[in-house]
């Protein structure tokens, strides 16, 4: 039996330069050189300003690490001369980030959305044999250390939006944390 919940709301990576998520007002800022070895350290420098209540042990750190890795590795090709710029703001209600690199932009964005749509169709049909072809998104530049699955989780995690600018070298994202009622 098929499970339509996977298809009820197919999330896509959007391109919207004018998204309010690109409003940097009041956000903190850090910039880093594109040193692959420092990705987790850079992430810790960012995430340390988040309240513990929204860290969900290390889930917030892990999700931020993925977007910084994408900027360092896929955007700037780990060229230390190129910078990654991060704007961020955290409180008990939200985590908001903008990560920008100096690369040529995410050219395969449409291919990724199409790939993700097929992946969700396999899940809806519980077709795990066919799903094997859609568990890892590869491009000509992928290497064996690329899991090819970071953005699948990102689209789910950043539930307030995950949006690229027109040049596709910057991505803005928002995670909402609903208050628990006492």
């Amino acid at each position: 039996m098929s499970d339509k919940t996977y298809l009820s709301e197919i999330k896509e990576i959007r391109v919207d330069e004018n998204s309010p998520l690109f409003d940097k007002t009041g956000m903190l800022y850090k910039e880093f050189s594109s040193d692959y070895r420092q990705i987790r350290y850079y992430t810790l420098l960012i995430v340390q300003s988040a309240p513990i209540e929204i860290k969900e042990i290390n889930l917030l750190e892990q999700q931020i690490s993925e977007v910084i890795k994408n900027a360092v590795k896929h955007g700037n090709r780990s060229n230390p001369a190129k910078k990654v710029r991060v704007w961020y703001s955290f409180d008990l209600d939200h985590a908001h980030l903008i990560v920008e690199d100096e690369g040529e932009g995410f050219k395969d964005l449409e291919k990724w959305n199409e790939f993700n749509r097929k992946r969700l169709e396999c899940l809806a049909n519980q077709d795990f044999e066919k799903l094997a072809d859609f568990v890892s998104f590869r491009t000509a530049k992928s290497d064996e250390n690329d899991g090819g699955n970071a953005l699948f989780a990102a689209l789910e995690y950043w539930d307030g939006g995950f949006v690229f600018n027109s040049k596709r070298n910057a991505v803005a994202m928002l995670k909402k944390f609903p208050h628990k009622r006492h």
Binding site: E56, N58, S65, N145, G147, N149, A150, A153
Partner: protein, 112 residues
Amino acid sequence: MELKIRKNGENYIIDVNGEMDLYNSYKLKELVMKMLEKKVERFIINLENVDYIDSSGIGALIYICSTIKKMNLKLIITNIHGSVKKVIELTKLMGYFPITNSIEEAIQQMEE
């Protein structure tokens, strides 16, 4: 990340200790490939002591899982918890990976 192998009958249990991140997930992949060369046929990957996984770690598990499935050999991943479970859930791979809650359950399932 530290990897230890122990044997239980025909089953080879790999205990993973530490973080499965972009810097070290390849080690698990390499170890499993070496074990396949040595004709190991039943793998249990124990993630009890893994509290952090990223897309490279998930990618390593996907690679291992698809390789073992293609060879018609057996794999079970066990003791997934905390944020590791959460990341696998976000990636919607809980149904793709063969998963049990404990090593005992994994061993039992290997016999079926």
